[in-house]
Symmetry: C2
Subunit: 297 residues, 2 copies
């Protein structure tokens, strides 16, 4: 059995991408690799070979895997830990594929008030963000993505969360819809985006407002190059309407993620008068997975 005293490896393995971290004995990332071999592109039955191939160059270190790799479309299904869930709950429910050597971090489920929800992978970042910036009381975390998560943390527990399929809706509209030809240009965080955010947040007519993106271009109401930014703003504004419905402008809102999408959410949150601060999803993942490793080592 490998020993944790030489460090360990971690894989954040989602549907469309994976990130591999080699973490030394004092919790620093000594090497980092990422590619687009998401769980959806690994044939059933091939996960074990994929994992061994990833492990080969790093030696026989303990390995923790998180994300969709633990779903029913991944390697082995790791049953959800129900809310409220602490870091210790999750660490105590690792699915050991190979005792002491290879484990999958379970996702978290929410089920209350006739509402069901699930997450896999974001929980590691959430616990990591809490380690990076400890604050007493309540923290509202926004994790933008294909499926944006709004997560309420109280003290050490994930109490509840809600998923909004904003990123996926935008991708569907951009790729397969009647809006495809007007959504080709890049999204930029400017006036058109913020105008969309305001409308999406104030109104609740997403299906109508999205069609208006096309009508605006046809009737010459707004320049076609603004259409993607405005449409993205509509979707993100509508998302904020859901995610911030119980929040107050004084709340501590953390936007947890990477790249353009995270900046767009931070700008949108600011525009509607709330205070958001960004935390790197990569840093948070490493902090969270190290905290889990500390418990199980």
């Amino acid at each position: 059995m490998p020993t944790w005293s030489n460090g360990f490896a971690a894989i954040d393995w989602g549907s469309t991408a994976r990130r591999v971290y080699l973490i030394d004995a004092v919790g620093h990332v000594s090497s980092h690799m990422e590619d687009e071999v998401g769980t959806l592109s690994v044939p059933q039955g091939s996960f074990e070979a994929e994992v061994e191939a990833l492990r080969a160059p790093i030696g026989d270190l303990p390995l923790l895997l998180a994300g969709m790799v633990g779903s029913n479309r991944g390697w082995i299904e790791a049953p959800y830990v129900p809310c409220p869930a602490t870091l210790a709950d999750v660490a105590g429910r690792l699915l050991w594929v190979d005792q002491g050597r290879t484990a999958i971090v379970p996702g978290i489920s929410f089920l209350k008030d006739d509402r069901a929800d699930v997450m896999r992978g974001e929980e590691v970042q959430v616990f990591g963000a809490k380690k990076l910036q400890p604050s007493p009381g309540r923290m509202l975390i926004c994790h933008p993505g294909t499926h944006t998560k709004w997560i309420e943390v109280e003290d050490e527990s994930i109490m509840r969360f809600q998923t909004v399929m904003t990123g996926e809706l935008f991708a569907l509209l951009r790729t397969h819809s009647i809006l495809t030809d007007v959504l080709a240009a890049p999204v930029v965080s400017g006036p058109a985006f913020l105008q969309g955010v305001r409308r999406g947040f104030d109104k609740s007519a997403l299906g109508a407002d999205l069609f208006s993106v096309r009508a605006n271009v046809i009737l010459g109401v707004s320049p076609s190059e603004d259409a993607p930014s405005y449409a993205s703003g509509l979707l993100i504004g509508s998302d904020l309407r859901t995610g911030l419905r119980n929040a107050s402008p004084h709340d501590d809102i953390v936007v947890l993620g990477r790249g353009l999408l995270t900046s767009l959410y931070a700008a949108a949150i600011d525009h509607i008068g709330f205070r958001g601060r960004e935390i790197s999803g990569t840093r948070a993942f490493v902090a969270g997975i190290c905290a889990i490793a500390e418990i199980v080592a």
Copy 2:
């Protein structure tokens, strides 16, 4: 030049289907053909040949075309008539491809209060519905479809309308999304559908509620065979929230269309306490196109 006294032909030609009607001198349909040769499946430059092929078996009668055939992706673009628009306005703005022989009915545009919208084809049905069931004052018409239209008619004029891309969103989710595998079963108008309608109408969290459809199945909250009906209900309920926002339960609401989708909308409108009555889209189209023919003959 052909004479109208022997009757005429009409084509209701949308993006994905076309319906051809041969109408006799007294306004009865003497023959009717429909197929799935929508404008999207006709290559640019081939419309004239398509039209001549349709005309060949019926002789040299006048021909009126309506729908997306008059769009920038159709045969020839017929400029929109702005709201408020009457039947006479539309008849007066026919685009004559071949004077006295072949004309395209223009669509209608709406532009006011920072909102733009367009329609092509539904206007013929709307004017026809008004002819079939004349009623003084205001009529609210719901035309369900890929792009559902909510149309306000006052006396003889289409005053304003709004498009909600309900049908297209459902098709995108069913075909290309993470919900694809839970949305395969048929939609039925039962308790799951009505539960979705109620939630979609009351809440304004479509992006979140749609994701919950998957979470409900994963966590065993609701049977997977209910998922498509519930999801359809969410989308239609959200659509009604937009379309009925200025309506009162006493308003005369006409649901204009064909088949299952029209029945679903009628059931949904009834469920949330409004009064809807169905009018056949086919009958309304024939009544509307005959009224246009009367003006131009």
